[in-house]
């Protein structure tokens, strides 16, 4: 395995891992049986990792969600899809590499897959624009979703973006309009739509492919109305308060279940998805198939009505009843 990229709060594990490596090294050169010692240390390391990841703060979860080795859209597709064929272009002069799409099979079901794609390193990230799609990306996604609608392919969407791209050309080409149209048109789709926040869900850029019948979210993924950095600099007037903003904004799967926004939180391997990507893939595949099966039972009308009702219920406010009104007046 390539050298692991360690997050700040994982540092306590470094010493243990070093010891484990040293013992392995020794064992290779000698006849001494170290299996007992190794087992002990490995158990200890696993327990520590479990403890650390069990108590992650929202801002630490953001670091996990942005981990360069966290499985991406294409990683998941390669893990559990067959016959993957990527499809390109918005049919209006661009093919955004930050938002990809294509068709494939998951077991026996043909599906359309779309998702933001980040890179693993700087070079890849430049090509992928750090997973920040331009208007053309959202229009490509809609074109593909319309295709799925015509050919009755369920839609699987993977959300992993810091946000929609903010730039001169993006404004000129109508970033707001592109996202807005997706929000409206996704309500019209006659096929099941399942969205999963696999990494970070950044605001409108995430929602632009996120109007779904089921919204799944990995345990250490985050979904935010505004990046905690931006929120901190606007509301706290201090970008350094991003960790406070991250906590205040309620961005974790657990919080978003409570708020009625997320339908299911997917358990991650100890240490996060980057630690055991294949295991993460199994978890996601199981949930997708199970949800596809459930949604497959519904008629087109039921599907659309429920999607509408699901979003219709979102929001918290106070509404005095007619009875209260009379009391007051």
């Amino acid at each position: 395995m390539a050298r692991r990229y360690l997050l700040e709060f994982e540092k306590p594990l470094v010493e243990l891992e070093k010891q484990i490596d040293q013992i392995r090294e020794l064992a290779r050169d000698s006849e001494v049986d170290v299996s007992q010692q190794l087992l002990q240390l490995e158990t200890l390391a696993a327990r520590r990792r479990e403890e650390i990841f069990h108590a992650l703060t929202p801002s630490q979860k953001i670091q996990v969600a942005r981990h360069p080795q966290r499985p991406s859209t294409l990683d998941f597709i390669q893990m559990f899809c067959d016959d993957w064929i990527e499809l390109h272009g918005d049919r209006n002069s661009s093919d955004d590499k930050a938002l990809i799409g294509g068709i494939a099979r998951i077991d026996d079901t043909s599906v359309l897959l779309i998702g933001q794609q980040k890179g693993r390193d700087t070079k890849e990230n430049v090509a992928r624009n750090f997973g920040m799609a331009k208007p053309g990306g959202y229009r490509k996604a809609l074109r593909l979703m319309d295709h799925a609608d015509r050919f009755k392919l369920p839609i699987i969407s993977f959300i992993d973006t810091p946000g929609a791209y903010a730039g001169l050309l993006a404004e000129e080409q109508g970033q707001g309009e592109a996202i807005a149209v997706n929000l409206r048109e996704m309500f019209r789709l006659r096929v099941p739509v399942i969205a999963t926040v696999i990494g970070e869900g950044g605001s409108g850029g995430a929602l632009g492919i996120g109007v779904a019948d089921k919204l799944l979210m990995f345990e250490h993924s985050v979904y935010t109305v505004a990046s905690p950095e931006a929120c901190a600099s606007i509301l706290w007037r201090d970008a350094g308060k991003a960790p406070e903003a991250a906590a205040a904004l309620k961005i974790t799967g657990e919080d978003l279940m409570t708020l009625g926004i997320v339908d299911e939180v997917l358990k991650e391997p100890s240490g996060g998805n980057n630690w055991a990507p294949l295991q993460a893939g199994e978890v996601l595949k199981e949930s997708l198939l199970r949800n596809l099966k459930g949604l497959g039972q519904l008629s087109t009308k039921q599907l659309r009505d429920r999607r509408y009702e699901k979003f219709r219920k979102m929001g918290r406010f106070l509404e005095p009843s007619a009875f209260d009104e009379e009391l007051i007046t």
Partner: protein, 292 residues
């Protein structure tokens, strides 16, 4: 929000049919145009829809003044007037969200940042929502989202055309993801209004940005804008700072959007009502029932 606060807020709410004088700094008989510096008699200014008669600068007006400009007198009937915000996340930055709400409610007499209702425009029935920038920068939280959604649903049910006057800094961060989801909720309701082949026109006023731009502001059958209004998805500063791109002089103005194909027509405020009337009639919306 406690019930006591709610009562207090309600007493301050006395808006219908009453013209409230803006009590801004330097309020007097005379004022100076912030754009051209011309000294103007305030009464003349307000009679000209708060548009400078010298340079055409559109001064900001509040939701109530906007409704008075559009609706026939005494025709406006508010909906969901008492829908009030709560603090779903217990949010506190340098100040508590609950305090910010109380302050905005006290200074505007509104429960939250949008007025919705039904009215007539030259006797043509219209469903109308007007966002108010004075209320926490016109930010969209649950109440704004819910009131607009209910209005759109009402318009669909009653087969009415719809106008939403936008003025917003975007989603309200203090309600977190609930605010973001209002974008989807309203867009869903607009999909049904559209499916019913009814006319929806947003009017983009200064400023219309962020999550509002990325949802209902850009979903009009016809999109109208006020002259020089700032309209955009991302903030100018964000684009400048992070990308160091040189931005054109008229970047993110109504005129810029018109040039790039995202606005149908720029409508000076003094011609707003007559333009709306023409458009409604041209689409077959008439005084009694719609005939098409």
């Amino acid at each position: 929000m406690s019930l006591f606060d709610w009562f207090a807020a309600r007493r301050k709410d006395q808006f219908v049919g009453k013209v409230i004088q803006e009590t801004e700094e330097g309020d007097g008989l005379w004022g100076k145009c912030p754009e051209c510096g011309q000294v103007v008699y305030r009464k003349d200014l307000s009679e000209n829809a708060n548009v400078c008669s010298n340079c055409g600068h559109h001064n900001r007006i509040n939701s109530e003044e906007r409704i008075n400009l559009i609706a026939d007198s005494n025709s406006f009937r508010p909906l969901d007037k008492n829908l009030s915000p709560v603090d779903p996340l217990g949010f506190k930055d340098r100040r508590a969200y609950a305090d910010r709400l109380r302050e905005s409610q006290a200074s505007t007499g509104m429960k939250d940042g949008v007025i919705t209702g039904l009215c007539n425009v030259e006797d043509i029935p219209l469903a109308i929502a007007v966002m108010d920038f004075r209320f926490m920068g016109g930010s969209m939280g649950s109440v704004v989202g819910e009131k607009i959604t209910r209005l759109v649903e009402k318009a669909t049910e009653k087969q009415l055309p719809l106008l939403i006057v936008c003025a917003s800094g975007g989603a309200r961060m203090q309600e977190g993801m609930l605010s973001l989801m209002q974008m989807a909720k309203i867009s869903g309701a607009l999909e049904r209004h559209r499916e019913a082949e009814l006319l929806y026109m947003p009017l983009l006023t200064h400023p219309t940005t962020g999550g509002v731009t990325a949802s209902f502001a850009m979903l009009g059958d016809l999109i109208l804008a006020e002259p020089k209004a700032l309209i955009g998805f991302a903030g100018r500063r964000v684009i400048e700072q992070t990308l160091r791109e040189k931005l054109p002089e008229n970047f993110q103005t109504a005129e810029y959007l018109l040039e790039h194909g995202f606005v149908d027509k720029i409508v000076p405020r003094t011609k707003l009502k007559s333009t709306l009337t023409k458009l409604l009639k041209l689409h077959g919306f008439n005084t009694k029932k719609r005939q098409r």
